[in-house]
């Protein structure tokens, strides 16, 4: 009987010891760790330069350019064995930012104030808005606040040559209650002051007068003008005479089917190894693009030298054209570059 009691006690002790072993824990390691670092802070709006009336507001947006480092631990786990290696991937990502996370700065608080990315126009003037996170500064945005007459901006170009019967006039206007007209026709303005109007063109020069006028007793107004030259392709067919910086330059424009070709010759002066050279009869051959721009190739090959290059240009007004060309002249195994402007008048 005593023996049995002793054995049961012994068994109890061993069972208690074994239970304590079940408390072993396993240390799980993280498999992937991503760290991001803000490299650049960009703030922006729909407009490059913000036009704002007194008491008006406009919201800015912000994005951050981050360097993202993804550290992945690849592991193989046994019960006792463990091995791993670490793979690091570095990427650049762009993420939108919450405006509340940015410290906003207005260079002139008397012109405009900014809070949480919302700009409030205070008084007439110009200021810069900048964002900041920690010590990282963003780009600056110019804000112009209008007072009195409206602020009006026409999108460039102010003078345009078109080979079609319709053109577009667009821009921005800001102020209080106002009317916007183009040649006395009322134009709709969006809530953020943007406007875009399609206008009909007549052959030749078309003048468009854009007027923004306050609807109040004073009726202060501002006006801008845009010119559009409407040319027919057939108007440019024929002989054109002009010049480069130092030499005459002539070409012809032909209609070939639905295409308009430019073909001509050019002469240039070169200084090469201290000597003066005249390179004549450089061939000009190319096309007039559908928007009226010129796109031509330049070439010449002789036993002494070779010339390759390109010529571009446009028709600046009725009966005139201009542009530039770039050449590469190869002589004695040496190549030199040469660029010039050109102009021409239709004969």
């Amino acid at each position: 009987m005593l023996e049995q009691v002793l054995f049961f006690k012994l068994r109890f002790i061993l069972i208690c010891l074994s239970i304590s072993i079940f408390t072993q824990m396993c240390n799980e390691k993280p498999e992937s760790k991503i760290t991001t670092t803000l490299l650049k802070l960009n703030i922006f709006s729909e407009m490059d330069t913000i036009l704002l009336g007194e008491g008006k507001i406009i919201n800015l947006s912000a994005e951050g350019i981050y360097s993202q480092k993804d550290k992945i631990t690849i592991s193989n786990n046994g019960v006792l064995s463990y091995t791993e290696y670490v793979e690091i991937n570095i990427d650049t990502i762009v993420q939108s930012l919450n405006n509340k996370d940015i410290t906003w700065i207005s260079a002139d608080q008397f012109v405009a104030q900014v809070s949480n990315g919302t700009i409030l126009g205070i008084s007439k003037g110009e200021t810069n808005i900048t964002g900041k996170i920690d010590s990282l500064l963003s780009n600056s945005i110019v804000v112009r606040v209008a007072s009195g007459e409206p602020l009006l901006s026409i999108n460039p170009p102010i003078f345009e040559v078109l080979f079609q019967s319709e053109g577009t006039i667009s821009g921005w206007v800001v102020g209080g209650e106002l009317d916007l007209t183009i040649n006395d026709n009322i134009v709709n303005v969006s809530e953020n002051g943007q406007f875009e109007e399609i206008v009909s063109l007549e052959a030749g020069v078309n003048d468009f007068i854009v007027i923004a006028k306050n609807i109040d007793e004073l009726g202060l107004s501002v006006s801008k003008t845009k010119q559009i030259l409407y040319l027919f392709f057939d108007d440019i067919v024929g002989n054109w005479e002009g010049e480069t910086l130092t030499r005459p330059f002539s070409f012809n424009i032909y209609k070939l089917g639905d295409e308009y070709l430019i073909a001509g010759t050019m002469t240039i002066d070169l200084t090469f190894f201290g000597g003066e050279y005249i390179v004549e009869n450089i061939a000009v051959l190319g096309l007039i693009n559908s928007d009226g721009t010129i796109d031509a190739e330049l070439s010449l090959s002789t036993s002494d030298f070779s010339v390759t290059g390109s010529l571009e240009g446009s028709f600046s007004n009725e009966g005139t054209a201009g542009g530039s060309f770039t050449l590469s002249v190869g002589m004695f195994g040496v190549s030199i570059a040469h660029s010039e402007q050109w102009t021409a008048v239709k004969q």
């Binding site: 012994l10 240390n27 690849i74 592991s75 193989n76 064995s81 290696y85």
Partner: protein, 203 residues
């Protein structure tokens, strides 16, 4: 505390031999043992990697006086499974080889059942690879000798023929991984519960 456990078993055996060793002029016997056991080490992730269907093979012999025996047994335990590969779509494989010798004291309070306690000394080796052997960074092994511990079992006898006895045993092993400096596997228990069936014969 844990590191001192193997010594405790030495003391147990020493004390038990005094308490229960029948040295009163009884019969000297030789016992031969062979059995197979279902073994499930309790170390973390073992069943996840190697499953539950693993068997331990054992053979041994002992000398005794009447109801008491001193035994020496050799155990071999092998298992194959799938290692756990993380962060990459690969299949891992793992092999486990464990050998240990147990020295124990067995006592028969009655003819048809017995209890046994003892110490364990052994070695273990684990090798892990992946399905893409060229990724050598993911291949490794771990081995260590001189792992120590103890065991306790409770057994039943069923007489068979020609003096052969069929045994059934319920056993629990404590086998502590030999501590390695700065090794995360320190103090793991490689033992666990075991259910054995086998045969023995006493001369």
């Amino acid at each position: 505390m844990i590191k001192r456990i193997p010594k405790l078993f030495y003391y147990f055996i020493f004390i038990l031999s005094f308490l229960f060793g029948d040295t009163g002029g009884g019969k000297l016997s030789l016992i031969l043992i062979g059995n197979v056991g279902s073994f499930s080490p309790v170390v973390n992730n073992f069943t996840t990697i190697y499953g539950n269907s693993n068997y331990n093979l054992r053979g041994g012999l002992g000398l005794g006086w009447n109801k008491s025996f001193f035994l020496i047994k050799y155990n071999q335990f092998n298992a194959e499974g799938e290692s756990i590969v993380k962060s990459i779509d690969l299949t891992g494989s793992a092999t486990w080889n464990q050998e240990f010798i147990s020295l124990g004291f067995r006592y028969y309070p009655e003819k048809n059942y017995y209890s046994e306690v003892g110490i364990i000394l052994g070695k273990v080796k684990e090798t892990i690879t992946t399905s893409v052997p060229i990724l050598t960074d993911l291949n490794t092994d771990f081995s260590t000798n001189q792992n120590q511990g103890g065991y306790f079992l409770y057994g039943f006898n069923f007489p068979f023929i020609l003096g052969i006895v069929i045994n059934g045993e319920i056993e629990y092993d404590l086998i502590y991984l030999k501590p390695y400096k700065n090794n995360r596997n320190d103090n793991l228990n490689l033992g666990g519960p075991m259910i054995n069936v086998g045969a023995s014969i006493v001369f």
